[in-house]
């Protein structure tokens, strides 16, 4: 791979990680018009759930008996379930009580909940896991369960015996597959269409007999599952996960969603890729440019907010007074 192709490849991969979190924002914002700021933390919680499920399966001896594809699916299912529960909890605890308040209230409460999730992982990840599995400190190289505040090795579950390039191609392919499945779900199923109806006009959706409460709950379940897969993919890509990176992914994912248009899934891809490309190319092409990559990336975000506040694929809302 030459210099330029290698940069493009890195940018696409980084863009994928931002896109996965950005889609979470889009899904929640689309249905409820609220920004769920702890989306990045839910994704990192997903990555930690993967590690926990891996250790538990290993402890039970299943990992050594079952084929890796089966164990991976079990691990993913556990993480998806936990993230879906956390996502529903997010809705119940920090969004639903503020339904009739200003939009700032759920924003603040989800920021606060993000801190709670981070601290929960930092403080309780190891003690909780050790309570379930017993005193295991070294499961298998390189999984070494230390305090939740330390960096944790992500189990190599995607093409473990192939080259890193193959793993990265799979990560990109799975990201786009998930987006495609989500697109089909939103446009071809009754539930997806209900979500879109609520997104466009909640009152009218009520009047048309759509069960709004149920639809919102299902949106949070799907959002949680999406973020669990997001956490799995970005953990697999980075190979190491840290409990405190959720806020970083959260702010980047949110920026990507805003640039793309908060209610558009395709916009989230464009926004995520734009951020990924700006960061990688500033770092890769400008000598000593890495220290400026975040400044330039966020300047791009500000420029978009100023000149295209509705986002690249967002719709302009004109209110008649």
């Amino acid at each position: 791979m030459n210099f330029f192709t290698s940069l493009v490849f890195s940018a696409i991969l980084l863009g994928c990680t931002y896109t996965l979190v950005a889609i979470g924002y889009c899904l929640f914002f689309g249905v409820l018009d609220v920004v769920v700021f702890c989306s990045g933390d839910i994704a990192i919680f997903g990555a930690f759930s993967i590690i926990s499920a891996y250790v538990m399966l290993y402890d039970l001896g299943l990992f050594q008996v079952l084929p890796i594809a089966v164990t991976t699916m079990i691990i993913l299912a556990v993480a998806a379930l936990l993230c879906a529960l956390l996502s529903i909890l997010t809705y119940r605890v920090s969004i639903k009580p503020f339904e009739r308040s200003s939009a700032l209230m759920p924003l603040l409460s989800t920021i606060a909940l993000g801190t709670v999730i981070r601290e929960f992982l930092g403080l309780l990840f190891r003690p909780l896991l050790m309570t379930i599995t017993g005193p295991i400190t070294r499961v298998a190289d390189p999984i070494n369960i230390t305090s939740g505040r330390n960096p944790q090795a992500m189990p190599k579950l995607i093409a473990p015996n192939s080259s890193i390039d193959v793993r990265n191609y799979i990560i990109i392919a799975v990201t786009f597959l998930i987006i495609l499945l989500l697109f089909l779900f939103l446009n071809k199923t009754k539930m997806g269409l209900s979500m879109q109806a609520i997104s466009q006009n909640k009152e009218l959706a009520y009047m048309n007999g759509i069960n709004v409460r149920k639809t919102i709950n299902i949106t949070f379940v799907i959002g949680g599952i999406m973020l669990a897969i997001g956490g799995f993919l970005l953990g697999s890509y980075q190979s190491v996960v840290r409990f405190d990176t959720g806020s970083l992914y959260g702010s980047k994912g949110f920026s990507a969603a805003v640039v793309g248009g908060l209610k558009s899934i395709w916009g989230a891809i464009i926004g995520g890729m734009l951020l990924g490309f700006v960061e990688v190319f500033v770092s890769g092409l400008i000598p000593g440019g890495t220290q400026y990559q975040n400044i330039i990336a966020f300047l791009v975000v500000i420029v978009f907010i100023v000149f295209k506040p509705e986002g690249i694929l967002g719709e302009k809302v004109i209110e008649k007074v």
């Binding site: 210099f3 290698s6 940069l7 890195s10 940018a11 991969l13 980084l14 990680t17 930092g122 403080l123 400190t137 190289d141 390189p142 070494n144 230390t146 305090s147 505040r149 330390n150 960096p151 944790q152 090795a153 890193i164 980075q238 190979s239 190491v240 840290r242 405190d244 990176t245 970083l248 960061e279 990688v280 190319f281 770092s283 890769g284 000598p287 000593g288 440019g289 890495t290 220290q291 990559q293 975040n294």
Partner: protein
Amino acid sequence: MKKYSFIVSALMIVVVLLSAAVPAFAAPDVVTLGFLAPITGACSAEGSAARNAFMMAIDEANASGEYPYTINVIVIDDQSDPTVGAAGAQKIVSDPTVVAATGHWNSGVAAATSPVFMENEIPFLIWGAIREDLTSEKTYPWVTRSAPTDVQENKPLAKTVIDDLGYTKIFMVSTTDSYGSGNTVAFKKELASRGLEPVGVEEVQSETVDFNAIVTKIVSSGAEAVYWGGVNTEGVYLKEQLYNAKADVLFFGISGIKTDDFLIIGKEAAEGTFAVQPGVRLDSSEAGRKFIEDYESRGFDVAINAYTPYAYEAATILLQALKTLGDDPTPEKMVDAIAKGTFHGVMGETTFDEIGQTTLVAVNLNVIQDGQWVYYEDSEYASGVRKFGGKE
């Protein structure tokens, strides 16, 4: 009767005066030391091992019966955060029984707490923060440091990698924080003194996780070696991503990466990482071997890291200084006892120079071989069985 009542009153006054004066002559029941380290947070492996070693020395001292008071320790978890560290320092100085404090693995945190200790005239010994300007004429004698500085660590590292191993095309990556920028300056000076320039210099913000663009740059620059001037928190990502990109380079750095947390990326990805560690080889002396044995026998869940012996050494210095002051140590007496004393510990003999910097400068070299840190001279890299990256 009047006469007796006068005598009784006079006696009572004498008793009251004596009882008030007694504590001034008697030894205090408790003498307190402050200890600050990142026990949680990204650098918790270093911080908690240091806390374990420090408390081990204090427990031994209390059990020995050699001190006419109980030595109490206020342990502060600075979380590698200057504001948390400064708040902890305030807590320490507000305790009237405190006579000295020791702290920090992170230079930025030490820079934030040193003024607090100086203003409150509490002697402060730095056990693990290495930025050069933390000890100076301005901070002497209140601030002393028993660990070598970043300059003292980078010098022998540069000598080995450039002069002995022959690497000249070096790409430098550091963090923009106080620790990283200190290393960037120190290692650039080492290169310049040999008429060399780095083939590339990149600085990343703390908590960076994606280094792939830098890795692409490193590969295309033709670098033979990558100098990492940060701690393991970000360094572990860079090493992993260099491995993933199959970059044929030597990855080396100073003691910030010499921790077991660096091994989580797996033995293949971590293999051949080269790091300097301050201090003498612990297994080369009786005292060092005893320290390893004692630490391991206590079953701590964190292994000995690069600065763990330095935390133990800091405890030794404070304890030996306390001993010279008999039964009435005060912060005013401790400051001279530390700055002008001579101490014997697991590292050898420590004295402090005119700016409070230790005169005991020793380093050893380490390499990751098969998923473990081993002394370089004992490794298959030194014997020629294995080869570092970046060389034919």
